[in-house]
Amino acid sequence: MIILTKIKSINWQGIRENKLYKRFASLKTSCIFLGILIGFYIIGAIFPQDAVLDDYIKSGGGFTSFVIFFDLLNVFNTPGFLIAASLLSINLTICAFEIFLILRSQSKTVSEGLQFTPQFTFPLDINTQLEDAGEIVKEIFKKEMGFTEKTFTCQEINIMEKGWSYRWLTWGYHLAILFCLFGFFMTYIFAFEDEITLYPGEAATIKPAAINRWNKSWGNKPQELDFKLILDEFITEYNQFPKLDYPADKLSRLAIAMGWKDPKYLLKEESYAPKDWKSRLKIIKGNQVVLEKTIEVNDPLSYQGITFYQAAYKQILKVQIDDNPISFETETDHELIIPGIDGMLKFGAIRTGTLFKKDGGTEKIKTFTEAALIRKDKSGKTETEKLGKLEHDGSLYIDDKRISIREFKEASVLSYRYDPGVPILWWSGVTLLIAMALRVFGAWYRIIYRLEEKDGMPHLLLKIKTRGIMADEERLIKRLKHSLEKWAEPIDLDEPV
């Protein structure tokens, strides 16, 4: 109550007449702020964002002192950018408020000082008094053409409208943009994300290492979540993938265009393109399963505001050398040094799961990997020697040593994120799109007209204003002429009513 009285006692009119306020209520100011933001965006598009400074320098990045001084690798977190974005938000808030006040007053009365300059004049061959003609014209506009009358203080001039009010729609989507900015703000302050690797059958507790800006600024530590996640199964699927025999050089491509050669799809034996990877997940709270879902890329799982995404997978294999009971564990695409072997062993991606074949059939893949030996010559150059396919319990020999695969293991890598900005952005984004589409693609008409007696005949003086791509002035005039002609026709008394 006290707050309300205090708000009421503020001199709002005084504030609205303040010079700074007026500047913020201007469209020009919005353009200037948008221009400043573009400057930041361009910097952000040129300099790699979130890159580590050392990596940037090592890769030959210049302007180092500028980069360090202005924090150009993190430009969207700099005070400059945040201030510019906040100023635009204030500008938009003030504009939305001001436009609202104008619209509210306009919907009650239309301005009295309206200058009426007719665009079109139609003689009304209706054979009635001016007043009756007024009723007929009103009827035509309302009943036949779907217009609604607007309250207007001036007696002689009539105003009618048809379609969604474009002004309210414009206001609506500007307000939606403001909500979007609020959504971004919520993400900026409260969102956090991390990753978790799950092995099949294991129950994992979730303790994010990352923390949102809000908690960070209060010195809070990340909290372990009060539920556990179990991966029941991890599923990989592949597509059989024909390679296209097609030249890269432009002349040969031209030759194909001329019909001198044909492009050809070829199927090498091991051509696998990932089709999908899926995790069968269970969420456990206390001792109960509270949620079950098989997630895949593009289809995440949400629980208590946290969303889990299928991000990647991790593949591990156990390698045995000769009959040594202790085996080595390595990840695919990592180099493995084995004592007694000149060079490093490297295993390619494990292919397992289902293969969807080109001819429409499916096949269970006999799990395998491809091994390679990497050696460095005296000049320091690396050479890769392909050793071939290795299946479970299969072996190959290098320097008289027998290398066998004893186990293939796959883990699912999930990223998870808490982001309260997303629902706000979703709903304001949808509203923005609907309002903008109705405004731009729709049709809105306003007609202003007056009837005048000229040469003993009533005349309709008309002005049309349209908005929206679908609005068609010519069509409106045609319909109007058609309706007027209909009214001008003599009534056939023999025709039953």
Binding site: L27, K28, S30, C31, L34, G35, I38, Y41, I42, G44, A45, I46, F47, P48, D50, D55, Y56, S59, G60, G61, G62, F63, E193, P242, K243, L244, Y246, K250, R253, I256, A257, G259, D262, P263, K264, Y265, A273, P274, K275, D276, W277, V297, N298, D299, P300, T307, Y309, A311, D359, S415, Y416, R417, V422, L425, G429, L432, L433, M436, V440, I469
Partner: protein
Amino acid sequence: MSNLETILSRDSYILAVEIRLFWLVALIYGVCLILYLIHLATKKTGPGRMGTNMLWLGVITHAGLILLRTFEGQRAPFQTLYESLSWFAWSTSIAYLYVERRWEDIYLPGILVTALSMGACLYALLTRSPAVEPLSPPLQSYWFEWHVALAFLSYAVFVVSCSIEIVYLTIKPSVKKGLRPEYGLNTNNLETFHRQSFRLALFGFPLLTFGIFSGAAWANEAWGRYWGWDPKETWSLITWTVFAIYLHSMSIPRWKGIPASTFNILGFICMLMTFIGVNWLARLLGIPSLHLYAM
């Protein structure tokens, strides 16, 4: 022949037909460009009219090509850069023909339109792989399909808007001075012609907005993050913001003339940066690209 071999040779055959048809389409756009250039050089309407008729032929053939690609890939035909460039070229030409139908003997905007349509086709044909390949899991999303289709459609509309703007700016002084018609434009129809440019940009803006929105929705589902300040995303935001300034400047009386036109043309340049020049400025300044998804 085994079943698989039959499938592969059938696919190879369809691809060969498709590639040759695509070259033919690029050639038609090229011929249109030449005809429009002859119109520019001679001021005669004949070549311009022929250019437009030829462009109709190109657009119809191109529509067939896009349908063939849809049949070939059994999916929406704009998911690789090769496909989306083709989609862009087609939508640019059809958008132009749509607005052109109400003009009488105005053909100059066709120069930029056909140059870009032909350029996009040649760029796809000469530098990208035409293979119909299985999509990687993150790309298998309806959001992604809408994202590409609508973003490129908006780009097409912006191209036509910009070409009208350029013609208007170059022709205006001589029409105003000489009060005589130039290339079908005269004091009576010049402003109505120019108004199309604004209407097109206004039409494209919600499409681009939806393009960005669906891109964010897709990224949110695929990677759990709706925005990552990747250069491509950032350039599309720049394009969007420049067009927002352009549309606003048309409501500011003192900015309505040259400043607004400049923003429209700048928007077009930013749009080009979005899909072919993402890392060009960085390369020009010798700045390494360490972005994850930079193309």
